[in-house]
Each structure stands twice: as C-alpha cells, then as structure tokens.
C-alpha cells in the first residue's frame, strides 16, 4: 500500500502547482487589466495630439516633444495603430514623428538583437517607417525565416535592382513563407524585377527555374518570351507547364508554334497549360489540335481544351457541337458540359468507366 507520506507528498506537489498557476494567471490578469486602464486615457490623449500634428505640420514638433516621454511600448502601439489607416504625405509625417520620438532608433537597434523575435519586431517597424536599406539588405540573410520574409516585404516599398536580385535569390529559400514573400513582392514591383529574373533564368534550369517562371506568369513582360520558349522544352514537366503559361500571356508566332507542339506533351499538366494558353491567345488555327484533347485521359486536360475551344468563338464552338453529338463518350460529355447542354446519361457513365 502506498504510504501516506507519498500520498501527501503528491497532494502537496499538486496543490503547489495549482496554487502557483492560479497566482500567476491571476497576477497576469490583474496586470493586464491595470495596464489597459492606465494606458487608455494616455493613448487617447496621444492619439489626439498626433492626429492634430498630421493635419498641421507646424504642430508636429510640439507633438514629438509631448510624445517623447511616453514609454516605448505605448509609442510603438500608437504609431503602429495609426499607420494602418494613413497613406501618402500623412504616412510620411507619421514616420518623421516616429523617428523624432525614438522609434526608428529602437527599431534599428532591435534588428541587431540576437533574439529572432526582436529582430522581427525591428524589421516590421522599419518596414512601417521606411528606409534603412543597408540594414534591411543584411536581414535578407537572417537565420530566421520570418525575419527574411519581412525583409522581402520591406522590399515591396523599396523596389530596386539590388532588392530584386535578393528577392530572386529568395525564390529558392528553404522556407515556404520566404518563397511566398519573395514571389509576392516580385509581382508587386513588376518591371523592376524583370532584369533579375532574366539573369536567374539564364543561369538556372530545371526546377531551380520553376519559381522564377511562376513569377514571370504575373509580369507579362515581353523580355520573358525568349527564356520561356527555351524552358518549353525543359526536362521537367512542371517547368514546361509554367513556361507554357508564361507564353500564353505573351503570344507571338513562335509562342503558338511551341504551344501547339506541347498539346502532345507526355504530361497532362503541360497539355492542359498549353490548351489554356492557346485559348487565352485566341489562336483559332489550333482548334483541330485542341479537339484531339477532348478525348484525353485526364479530365482536367479535357476541360481546359474544351474551354479553350469555347474561347475561340465560332471555329471552337463548332468543334464542340460536333463533339457533343459524337460517339466518343469523353469528348461528348465534356463538350456538353461546356456548351451547357443537357446530360447524356449514357455518355456520362461511359466517360466515368
């Protein structure tokens, strides 16, 4: 039998843990309540002063003097809260006041911290306030992915060739978050990033080029046509598929020639991408080649081919109408769906089989 000593010992330990947890939670709750109660009127006053300063530039120096003595946490809360709703000149005025009251220097100092969350906080504040190019470029190589991604986000407001080349390098980052941030920023900065993408595509091939091609889809820059045509014959199906999509945004004689060739690709996604692109370009001579894909093994390819035919107007619609009444159940089924005709139940079940 368990001795009472062991039993009481267990009870004491349990009781101490529970008591400690209640004290901690209660204490934390009291602190949060007291801080909110104390800071609310202070923040309200500070917000009024700041808003007045934003309306009247002459008042901004006075605002800086009034706000400077506040605790740094409150100052940051004030500035970050207002910045979400301000743009243009007012945003710049806010950034100037933030610099005057020490937020910029605190942010820059945080960016050099050994703790990732302090560096992240500093990077986000710098993104809000702008500038600090040299320091933010260093953060592109930070060991924490959140910090690197924040540097990429900063670059969207500071587009430059140097930033673009760092963003393109980040497309192959190990962190998905960084890759997303880099891709998103490159899409936002548009033409500024094209040179870096071209340089990357000239050096890399295969899957290393895939991320850059994915960005190229959204850029629609004619300079990207040549590399896209080259990658249309790459060994990787994903790369060929992306290249076909890029080509579909640009067009040209060489483009449609390659796309027509890719309709016979071994990979279904490549065939589908080629079909979508031809439909987007409205290249009606491809209608016959597209019609062959109505019987493709893969449903998505059949769908994309049918939609592409539909977008080719009369030639494509004629082919779809013929397919709808053909003996081929797959072609008939997808054509009927696209043309919005009533289901042919026999064809539907044969297509599924």
């Amino acid at each position: 039998m368990v001795s009472f000593r062991v039993f009481y010992g267990a009870l004491v330990v349990e009781g101490s843990l529970i008591t400690g947890a209640i004290v901690l939670l209660g204490g934390h709750g009291m602190w949060v309540w007291w801080y909110a109660k104390w800071s609310r009127p202070v923040l309200d006053m500070a917000r009024t002063v700041l808003l007045d300063a934003l309306q009247d530039r002459l008042a901004s120096k006075r605002a800086s003097v009034l706000l400077d003595p506040l605790p740094m946490g409150l100052k940051i809360q004030l500035i970050t809260g207002l910045s979400k709703n301000l743009y243009g000149d007012q945003r710049q005025s806010l950034a100037a006041i933030a610099s005057d009251i020490g937020i910029r220097s605190a942010a820059v100092s945080s960016c050099g911290s050994r703790f990732w969350w302090r560096r992240l906080r500093g990077a986000r504040l710098v993104t809000l306030l702008g500038g600090e190019e040299e320091m933010m470029f260093q953060l592109f190589l930070d060991r924490n992915p959140m910090v690197r991604a924040q540097a990429a986000e900063w670059a969207s407001q500071h587009p430059s060739l140097a930033a673009a080349s760092k963003l393109v390098a980040m497309l192959s980052d190990s962190s998905g978050h960084c890759r997303f941030a880099a891709q998103d920023t490159l899409q936002r900065i548009g033409a500024v990033g094209v040179e870096s993408i071209l340089e990357h595509l000239s050096i890399h091939s295969g899957t290393s080029a895939a991320a850059a091609l994915a960005v190229a889809v959204g850029l629609r820059d004619p300079r990207l046509l040549d590399p896209a045509l080259r990658f249309g014959r790459d060994g990787s199906a994903r790369v060929r598929s992306l290249a076909a999509t890029v080509i579909g945004t640009l067009g040209g004689e060489d483009a449609v020639s390659l796309l027509t060739e890719l309709l016979n690709d071994a990979d279904a996604e490549v065939r589908a991408a080629a079909a979508r692109s031809l439909g987007k370009l409205g290249y009606w001579p491809s209608a016959v080649s597209l019609s062959l894909l109505l019987s493709d093994d893969v449903w998505e390819t059949r769908r994309d081919a049918a939609l592409a035919l539909q977008s080719l107007d009369s030639p494509g619609v004629l082919i779809l109408q013929r397919a709808a009444s053909s003996g081929d159940p797959r072609a008939s089924n997808i054509a009927r769906q696209v043309l919005d005709l009533p289901d042919d139940l026999e064809a539907t079940s044969s297509a599924r089989a």
Binding site: A10, T80, R121, E153, G176
Partner: protein
C-alpha cells in the same frame, strides 16, 4: 465479502498503479501545457505587427472554397451566409449545400441571394446522392448553392468538394460564424510549409453573444451554466490541448465546424467517409496516414488566432447526445485505423497521438 469490499480490496492492491497512472497523466498534461505555452508565446511574437493586408491584395494567395452543408437551417442560414460573404479574403468561393432540407432553407437562400440556375463544369469524383440543381447568386457571384437529395453531412460535403474549385477547402457547419479576417490567418501554415495537409482554428461559444448581420459584435459569457462550462472547456481544448499538440507535431483533430484542407489531398483519399459518425476526425487520420504511407503532405496545424463562433448545447440532454456522438466518432476513427497504433511508420501519430487518444 460483498462486491464493495472486493472492489475496495482490489483498489487498495492497485493503489501504486493508480498513483503511477495519475502521475503519468498529470505529467503528460504538464508537458502539454509547457509545450502549449512555448507555442503560444512563439505565435504571439510571430504575428505581432504583421500586415495581413498583403494577403488581401496578393495575386498569388491560394484560392479557398468554403463548404457549408445545411440541413433544416432556415433559422440560421441567412446569418451564416452573410458572415461568409463578409470574409476578407481575395480569392473566395462559397459553396452552400442544401442537403434535402424539409423546411424553407432553399426558399430563404433563393429569395435573399437571388439565386439563378447555372451549370458549372465539374467532375463528379465522389459519388453522392442526386443533385437537383446548382445555383449561383446574381448579387454575390462567389456564392454557389447545391440543392441535393438528403444524404447526410459527409455526402453533402463530398458534393461540395466535387464542385469546389479552390486550392484549399474550408469545411464548416452551417451555423458557424467565422470572423472576417479568419481566412487570412488560417492560410498561413499552407504558405509556410508544403507538407501541411490541414489546418484548424479556434472555436468559441456564441451563446449569449450579440450577433448582427452574421458577425459577433459583442462577446459575452452565456447565461446558462451548461454553456458556461463549455466556454471554459473550449478554451482549454483549443488553447491548451491543440496548441500543445502542435508543438509535439501530433494534432489529430480538426474541428468539423472550422477546418481548412488541401483539396487535392482530400479528393485523393476519397473525401469524407459516409459510414463514420465522426467524419471530420476520420478524414484527418486518413489524410495523415496517406501522407505517411506515400511520403506526401501529412502535417496538421492548429492556428490559435482565427476564430469561428458556434452555438453549443444549453441542456444536459443535448450536451449528452453531442458528446456521445463525438466519442463514438473518436472510437470509430481509432478502430478503423488501429494499425497506426504504436506503429513507428506513422511517426508521432502512431507513437504518441494514438496511444494518448486510446488511453
């Protein structure tokens, strides 16, 4: 010797085992609490000052289809759909599945959202009960309504899954109210990692709250004791249990009321199981299992900050029925996939999560 005496004697002999079990379970909970604290602390630091507006204007944000099955929801369907239409997310599709309701659910939807018949192009990858019609809203083109014969929640979700076009699918209950920025937060794990197959968010109790136009505008504690206990229970389950399991890599549950999944992965495993009581949990186990077996995405993340609100039972009887259904669903999922138990092939799922839920 009476039965009571015999039981007493047995318990006395087993007292060390009881104490060891008590210590083991409490130590595990203590470890889970520590893991949850660390995870929550990291999460708060990660989201401080983040600009979610970028997601709203991003061309590469993943598209999301929200599946909302509805059966006899005439009282709440309008509020629910309004809350879905007010979500702040750029690429959204809302698929409401009217699962053969016998009340005026369909009539309310048709009237409020000016539904017009449409014929979207989709492949019926999972067989479902016959679909009577598909409709799109004239004034909210992102809203699609499927009217079908009754087949149960799993069948309705599968019908929605067939039609959905988003890269990610969010399955919710029809009476769930989602916070406007919840999707921006929920999509985060799918951007961070390629191996995430599902993500879930926090569910809070809507009983007693002030709801206007499909949004909770004033959170209040419920007046009913039964609902009040559930508020604490939900907070414990989500902010302690699931956050802790996140750190341990072993989340096995995504709430059926609020979960985000990769659509392709769901279709690859055949969607929701018709013959399961807990179809949401069973799907998660199947997704994770397939991920392990085929070396594909298998991680299930829990995000503490996106919030959805739901009504909870206010009577012990209704609560009892709900919990009975949940536990039968859990038992069913564990039994179906019992091969996972203590199987190192399935990593934390088999070696930690399954034994924990079995015990």
């Amino acid at each position: 010797m009476t039965v009571t005496d015999m039981v007493g004697a047995a318990l006395v002999r087993l007292d060390w085992m009881v104490l060891i079990y008590f210590l083991a379970v409490n130590s595990f909970y203590g470890g889970l609490l520590l893991a949850a604290s660390l995870e929550l602390n990291d999460h708060v630091r990660k989201v401080w000052g983040e600009s979610r507006w970028r997601m709203l204007s991003s061309d590469i944000a993943p598209s999301i289809s929200i599946l909302a099955p509805a059966f006899n929801e005439v009282a709440t369907i309008n509020e629910s759909v309004r809350s879905l239409l007010s979500l702040y997310y750029p690429k959204l599709e809302i698929v409401v599945v009217n699962d053969g309701s016998r009340d005026d659910t369909m009539a309310v939807l048709t009237r409020e959202y000016e539904l017009a018949s449409c014929h979207p192009i989709f492949e019926e990858q999972m067989e479902t009960k016959p679909i009577r019609g598909v409709y799109r809203s004239r004034n909210h083109p992102i809203l699609v309504v499927i009217d079908k014969d009754n087949g149960g929640k799993a069948d309705a979700l599968n019908a929605g899954l067939n039609l959905a076009t988003g890269e990610l699918v969010c399955a919710i209950d029809a009476d769930t109210l989602i916070e406007p920025d919840a999707m921006q937060r929920m999509v985060r794990p799918f951007l961070d990692r390629d191996d995430v197959v599902a993500a879930g968010g926090t569910i809070r109790v809507a009983n007693g709250c002030v709801v206007k136009s499909g949004r909770v505008i004033h959170a209040r504690a419920p007046t009913s004791v039964v609902a009040g206990f559930q508020v604490i229970e939900y907070l414990r389950a989500f902010l302690f249990g699931r956050v802790g399991w996140n750190r341990l890599g072993g989340n096995m549950i995504i709430s059926g009321a609020f979960g985000l999944f990769r659509r392709r992965a769901m279709i690859a495993v055949g969607g929701y199981a018709y013959d399961s009581v807990g179809e949401d949990m069973e799907l998660i186990v199947r997704l994770r299992r397939r991920g392990h077996e085929q070396n594909g995405p298998r991680r299930v993340e829990f995000i503490p900050d996106p919030v959805a609100w739901t009504e909870v039972p206010e009577s012990l009887r209704a609560l009892g029925r709900q919990r009975d259904r949940w536990h039968r669903g859990l038992a069913d999922a564990l039994w179906r996939h019992r091969r996972v138990l203590l199987n190192p092939r399935y990593g934390t799922l088999g070696m930690v999560a399954f034994p924990y839920f079995f015990s």
